[in-house]
């Protein structure tokens, strides 16, 4: 008799566990409106921005790297940012924004985080942050001019629409030396009003060759590098799932959603937080990260060969549509 009770209890517990672990149906509300906004992305604008910004990096004077000698993956002799700060500010200004620069730190590694805001109409105090880093090794076509171009294109399009939440477009400085600009920005309390962040780092390179995408620290990925990675953690799980679903179901770009465990800061998953979203994850700010896989895919990573001709214009255009749709969804576009 007791055994029967125990058996029944075991079965009920097992069934309850199965129900608890069941998938919730995804929420697709807002996808169609977001896609309408995303269709305004112009590939020609993007590639023009990439070409101009790469040219600017190649003709800029490298930073003083006396405190940071060059390494194989970090050729700091060729790290530039000053002219890019001016270019991005000027582009924002041309669009009608009043850009600002958060100047943080001092000395050789003083950082200039350039930003502009499109105010929300009803929940303006809650900010959707769209970030990409402005410094680059050599020309940096993919790393990270591709993402800066996407951010500028999104900033241009945003002005055609109204959103409930404020959108802050920000180009972080000195990511290549350890996300210095974004770290100071978050540590300085300047991200306290951020409801959600989208951070991008390299979003313009793809390959259809088998084996072109390598595993990331033991994390098995589809080995054909033809997709955008949309990476989240515990705090950004829902938006990561939504953006992945929206990108694929609305045919904006091929997207692969990746969820890091917990806050993402564990030893074996820390490669997934290797950009300006890193400190946001630590601080519990919901942040989703867009990337093409960096050195786990792009053979030009941190090399002089990272030039505009290696960028896949269709891929970059599709990924910028994902960005624009995600902004529209998160900032709640009002059509």
């Amino acid at each position: 008799m007791k055994m029967n009770r125990l058996l029944n209890l075991t079965i009920v517990t097992f069934l309850a566990l199965l129900v608890a672990c069941g998938e919730k149906e995804g929420d697709r509300s807002g996808f169609e409106e977001a896609t309408v906004v995303a269709q305004q992305v112009n590939g020609e604008n993007l590639m023009n921005s990439v070409a101009e910004l790469v040219d600017i990096h190649l003709n800029d004077i490298p930073i003083d790297n006396s405190e940071c000698p060059p390494g194989d993956l970090f050729p700091t002799d060729h790290l530039t940012r000053n002219a890019a700060v001016g270019y991005i500010s000027e582009e924002f200004r041309k669009m009608g924004y009043i850009p600002d620069t958060a100047v943080l730190g001092e000395g050789a590694y003083i950082t200039y985080n350039v930003f502009a805001e499109w105010p929300g109409t009803s929940d303006a105090e809650e900010v959707i942050l769209v970030g990409s880093h402005l410094d680059a090794f050599y020309g940096g076509a993919d790393d990270n001019t591709s993402a800066v171009a996407a951010m500028l294109e999104a900033a241009r399009i945003a002005r055609n629409f109204s959103f409930s939440h404020t959108i802050r477009f920000i180009a972080f400085d000195l990511e290549e030396l350890g996300s210095i600009g974004s770290t100071r920005y978050v540590e300085g309390g300047l991200a306290g009003d951020v409801k959600t962040a989208i951070v991008m780092d390299l979003i313009g390179y793809r390959s259809f060759e088998p084996g072109s995408q390598k595993s990331v620290m033991g994390i098995r990925l589809p080995d054909v590098g033809d997709y955008l990675m949309v990476i989240g953690n515990r705090d950004s799980e829902e938006i990561t799932r939504q953006i992945t679903d929206m990108a694929n179901s609305q045919s904006l770009s091929k997207a692969l959603g990746v969820l890091a465990p917990g806050d993402g800061a564990y030893f074996l998953s820390q490669a997934l937080m290797r950009s300006d979203h890193g400190l946001m994850w630590y601080k519990g700010i919901p942040a989703v990260f867009f990337t093409d896989g960096a050195n786990f895919r792009n053979p030009n990573y941190h090399l002089a060969s990272d030039l505009p001709e290696t960028i896949d214009a269709d891929f970059l255009t599709g990924n910028t549509k994902v960005l624009m749709a995600a902004i529209a969804l998160l900032a709640e576009v009002q059509l």
Partner: protein, 168 residues
């Protein structure tokens, strides 16, 4: 490290071997464990500790259940059930068929529609315990290895440096 391990095994074997060796029964065991599980949509890995129960019937038919907590990529929990064959005698190498369920935190690759992979993940396979020594009060086992396969081209590797069971 190897010397410490060897000495530990010898001491534990000596202490426990004062009593009879082939009695059937249940042992509660503690072990250190490590695991790497990789599939198309889940990566779970870490080092940790586990506790379980070991059943022995007619000195050769063995069963085992255990639960383990692993750290390295978040907090992962594995629960395992195993059945197998043990050699009779003091030196009792064994081979088990195992089924592992993996719970807790892991890195996930989402489906196209954003769905998360199933929880728990699982793998079925074999585990060998070549350096298992029965004692009067239980057993000591060193360097256990396991390999399993599962859905979505899953591969599971596990190992234990030392496992100590005490018979009740």
């Amino acid at each position: 490290m190897k010397k410490i391990l060897f000495i530990t095994i010898i001491i534990a074997t000596s202490i426990f071997s004062a009593h009879s060796q082939d009695r059937p029964g249940i042992s509660i065991f503690l072990h250190q464990t490590g695991m790497y599980y990789s599939s198309d949509n889940i990566t779970s890995e870490g080092l940790g500790l586990g506790i379980g129960a070991h059943f022995l019937h007619k000195s050769q038919i063995a069963g085992q259940v255990d639960a383990n907590i692993l750290w390295g990529n978040g907090n992962a929990i594995t629960t395992r059930i195993a059945a197998g064959y043990e050699k009779k005698g003091k030196w009792a190498p064994a081979i088990y068929a195992t089924c592992n369920l993996l719970w807790g935190q892991r890195t996930e690759i989402l489906a196209e529609n954003g769905d998360r992979p199933p929880l728990p993940a699982w793998a079925a396979g074999v585990r060998v315990t070549p350096l298992k020594f029965r004692t009067g009060r239980g057993y000591v086992s060193a360097l256990e290895f396991g390999y399993g396969v599962g859905p979505a081209k899953a591969m599971s590797l596990e190992f234990s440096v030392l496992s100590i069971g005490i018979r009740f």
